[in-house]
């Protein structure tokens, strides 16, 4: 029975390119080697694509530790050196509470409710460049 469980993901975390934004989706546990690899991949992808922003979707992360907090902070710092902005999107309430309890306030990081908002935030979504965040909801209670 135990054989049926998938082994822990130790391979790559895919880095997707959407216009000039890079999208990374974290799911489940993040292993040390994977995190290392991811940081390198993001760095390379930013320089190759001249990306303006990196969106890290953490809505699939249910358990958090100080390691993940550090990885996020490091990715953000690295991206900033490469002139790209990092946005963490879709963090769950329980994860946010745990992060705060751990003292990980991620000061230099921008956040967004969803991936969509995050992409809009880092200047993606060329289709409607004039659209301000929340602008489409204007006037409707």
């Amino acid at each position: 029975m135990t054989r049926d469980f998938p082994p822990p993901v130790t391979g790559h975390v895919p880095v997707l390119r959407l216009g000039d934004v890079l999208l990374v989706t974290l799911q489940g546990d993040l292993h040390d080697s994977t995190a290392e690899q991811l940081q390198q991949d993001i760095g390379e992808a930013i320089t190759r694509n001249r990306a303006a922003g990196v969106v890290i979707d953490v809505s699939g992360v249910e358990i958090v530790d100080s390691f993940l907090g550090r990885v996020l902070a490091e990715i953000a710092a690295k991206a900033r050196l490469l002139a790209a902005e990092t946005v963490v999107a879709g963090m769950r309430p329980a994860v946010a509470i745990t992060m705060v309890e751990l003292g990980l306030f991620l000061p230099g990081l921008r956040t967004a409710l969803s991936t969509e908002d995050a992409i809009r935030l880092v200047g993606g979504g060329d289709a409607h460049p004039a659209a301000r965040p929340g602008g489409t909801r204007q006037g409707s209670p």
Partner: protein, 299 residues
Amino acid sequence: MPEYGAAGQGGTAAREVGGFLLRRREQIAQRWADETLFRTVFTVSREEAVEAGRTVVEALAQVAGADLSADPEAPGFLVVREQLSQIGSARTRTGLTPSQVSHDVDALRPPTVDLLVADLPDAAPEAVREATNVLTVLMGTLRLVVMETALSEGQALIDRQRLQLLEMTTPVIQLWDGIVAVPLIGTLDSARSQIVMETLLESVVEQRARFAILDITGVPTVDSLVAQHLMKTVAAARLMGAECVVSGIRPAIAQTIVHLGLDLGTVVTRATLADALGYALRKLGTDIVSEASHGAGER
């Protein structure tokens, strides 16, 4: 040796009382049904009161028969515990103090003693006194058991109400599309702050709110722990991609926060809930204009 003899005599008297209770249970139950306690609890019918009284008398007889008159934990009482708690809680609900309930239970004793004395016309005065003693002790224990159940009932009520209070006092209100608010009322403690934090963050996800307003107009005092909780809530909301605004800080609370040396520098604060809403609306690109300027403008 004399002690053993006394104990034996006591045992005999207890058994005698047990026998008497069993023999006369119908009569006792009838008498009890007329007393305040049973009359007010079992209002539906007299039969019900008599039935309940009979059950209690039978339990007492069993306890007396086992010579455990002074033991509130006697197995006999376990059978009628539910009945007694019903009686006790029914009386407490009507707003009676514990001592009044206790008095009501004590009122059951005299008619029973009368019946006991009448039941032993040719017994020696010594034996009668012995039996009355046992009965008195037994009724005292009954009183204790009723009180105990009534008090535990009260405790359960308090626990239930505390839970209700926690649920009731943290409503999350959607003020606008993308703006939620929690008006906090009353003293905050750690447990409540935690619940506030959780419900607020949950609703941020549910309503896809970009702004969360914590209104503390109704909070009388703030200590360092509560302030810390507020800061944590603000930080957690930020991590999720929402901005948290604290509104309604009273002058006294502001003074306290400054005196405590707490740095709320990273927290956006506004004087009133209205200001906070205006701030959030402006940030969302929405604005509220008054009728006059609306008419004067080109719109």
